[in-house]
Subunit: 366 residues, 2 copies
């Protein structure tokens, strides 16, 4: 048994967690920048809750609300410049994965005069500003990971950076904030969380410590499957999904992801398909591809989710998120080539060649 466990985020989970624990923010300084995509931060109530907490503590703040879905380097450059100009002492990220990941990049760029491309060196002269992460979706887990995943137009994919200094200082996980999301977003992001726990449970970097978190994350997704299928997402389901998402984040903090993520980014980059949905297209074929290399663990996953076999997994996911759109032979080759450049591909339990990725994609062309 050999592992490292490091999870320094102070996570507050539960309804009203900001109003109950907002006083914690006092120690981070007198000026904050809120980084968000705009819409969900307002609709969810998270923005007004955090503003109330900041005002109560007499902390000044400004808002950068232009984070795009799958933020680009130009996007975080703009946010970083605004944070620096404003003299922010800490960054509050509110939203799904995109604003939370952007907040981490803004926290680095606010105090390091570097080009956004240099984020990926993970080598920063000055320690990033503290980040307060407030998820409004249950899927990314970004609130408990050090990772920031940004779109690289030069490389036609999404690439992450992250160091022990880019863990959020605090995460406020209030299931109530996920209520305003449309059903489709709830389902897609839940599948993303499932994929985090699943890839961590099956990946080469799994440890005894991540196994127990991953199993619980998968079990919780399974316990929500009935509600997700009929589209009836009550408070208990929202709570379970947000907790499962946090667990998935704790898992991939230690294990990283594998080929589902590396391959899924192609669907997002080239076809604009939401991240969780793209992952979901790939799960059943990913499990089939790895089955002989991790039979017992894949059987565990099926049992934890209450599914009979991989065909049922396939059918359930297709019911939840549909099937991958057809792509051309040229696209299959391109997706495979780009996937092979992702670091995460090397952590897949079964060794992966470009032709294996092509094979997975071909089998999806039903």
């Amino acid at each position: 048994m050999q592992f490292k466990f490091h999870m320094p985020v102070k996570a507050y989970f539960g309804e009203g967690c900001i109003s109950k624990n907002g006083s914690e923010l006092a120690k981070y300084g007198r000026k904050a920048i809120i980084v968000t995509g705009g819409r969900s931060a307002k609709l969810s109530g998270a923005l007004s809750d955090i503003c109330a907490a900041l005002e109560q503590l007499d902390i000044e703040y400004t808002i950068y609300d232009k984070v795009q879905n799958n933020p680009t380097l130009d996007n975080v450059r703009e946010g970083g410049a605004m944070a620096r100009q404003y003299g922010a002492c800490f960054v509050v990220g509110i939203g799904g994965g995109s604003p939370l990941d952007a907040a981490k990049a803004v926290a680095v760029l606010a105090v390091n005069d570097i080009e956004p491309e240099q984020l990926f060196t993970n080598d920063f002269a000055n320690r990033p500003l503290p980040v307060v992460a407030i998820p409004t979706t249950a899927g990314t887990g970004s609130e408990v990971t050090p990772y920031s995943i940004l779109t690289r137009t030069d490389k036609q994919t999404k690439i992450s950076f992250g160091t022990p200094d880019t863990f959020p200082a605090i995460a406020f996980l209030d299931p109530h904030y996920t209520e305003s999301q449309p059903l489709e977003v709830t389902v897609n992001t839940a599948v993303d969380a499932l994929s985090h726990s699943m890839e961590g449970y099956l990946g080469k970097r799994r440890t005894e410590a991540t196994d127990i978190l991953a199993r619980e994350g998968i079990r919780l997704f399974g316990s929500c499957l009935g509600s997700l299928r009929i589209g009836n997402i009550g408070p208990e389901t929202r709570e379970a999904l947000l907790y499962a998402s946090m667990l998935g984040g704790m898992v991939i903090t230690h294990t990283g992801t594998t080929i589902i993520h590396g391959l899924g980014y192609n669907y997002t980059y080239f076809s604009g398909i939401p991240h969780g949905k793209a992952n979901g297209y790939l799960i059943a074929e990913y499990l089939r591809f790895n089955y002989e290399y991790a039979k017992d663990r894949i059987d565990d996953i099926l049992a934890l989710m209450g599914l009979a076999d991989l065909d049922e997994m396939d059918a359930v996911l297709a019911e939840l998120i549909g099937r991958a759109p057809a792509i051309t032979g040229e696209e299959i080759s391109r997706y495979a080539a780009i996937t092979m450049t992702q670091r995460s591909t090397a952590t897949n339990i079964r060794p992966v060649e470009a032709q294996d990725i092509e094979g997975i994609l071909k089998r999806l062309q039903k």
Copy 2:
């Protein structure tokens, strides 16, 4: 669901973890004080491993090796003064719970000119020195908790302090270091770890997040029961016990302990009985006392340990650690009165009065 999860310790687990990750120490400064009880640090090999790592990094160090079992305030005063005089930048604690807990107190006293009594205010002007924790027993879990438990002769018991700043910065958990412990210490400390997970699983402060850690800690103890009973502790058992101990520490960091600990301190204070053994005397009666208040969870514990019922739990623990020594009626009253002053008593799932504690102690007088 409402919880806080905060576990900032960077834990490295596995054989050779110091030599593999010792370079991490460079960031804590140029001078270290090693705090230890002397004997187990040397016998275990931990002292020579950490000295080699420090020397390789050109970090100067001095050694305070006078930590007593169940360290007193005078003991940590002396260590703190030595650390201050030496100008230590960080503290390395090596040993069982006593040296690790003393190291945390030394880290506070080195930079705060206060009387040791003031440790219990948890209010320190200066941030404690970073602590590197290296357990040589598998039981305390102190390497991943912020708690330091010290003997208060004025109050005739042991009392803890701890703040988010007294978490160790790093823990090195090498199962090899526990090899040199006598069987009795291995058994006693293993029972302590069991009691941490058990009290956390049943206490009022339990959360969804601690439940999964506690269940795994209890299950692991159960998986080692056969080896513990026959006294054959091989490498896999040592590994499982050290990991179970770490999980127990992560649990009580969030949940605190309950009446087993508060009551057990009496046996240690007045009769010098080792901490884990004192806890073990109480476990079966504690479970009987709480059974109607936590039936399902106590049944879970029995199932996780592979035991049929509480009578079997009682018999197994008696076989491992023996029975509590007979005490007088006066002692029963005194133990109960002191236990009622412990904060942890209030977190027991079943409300506790002094007469309940007396009842538990009377039932032990078999």
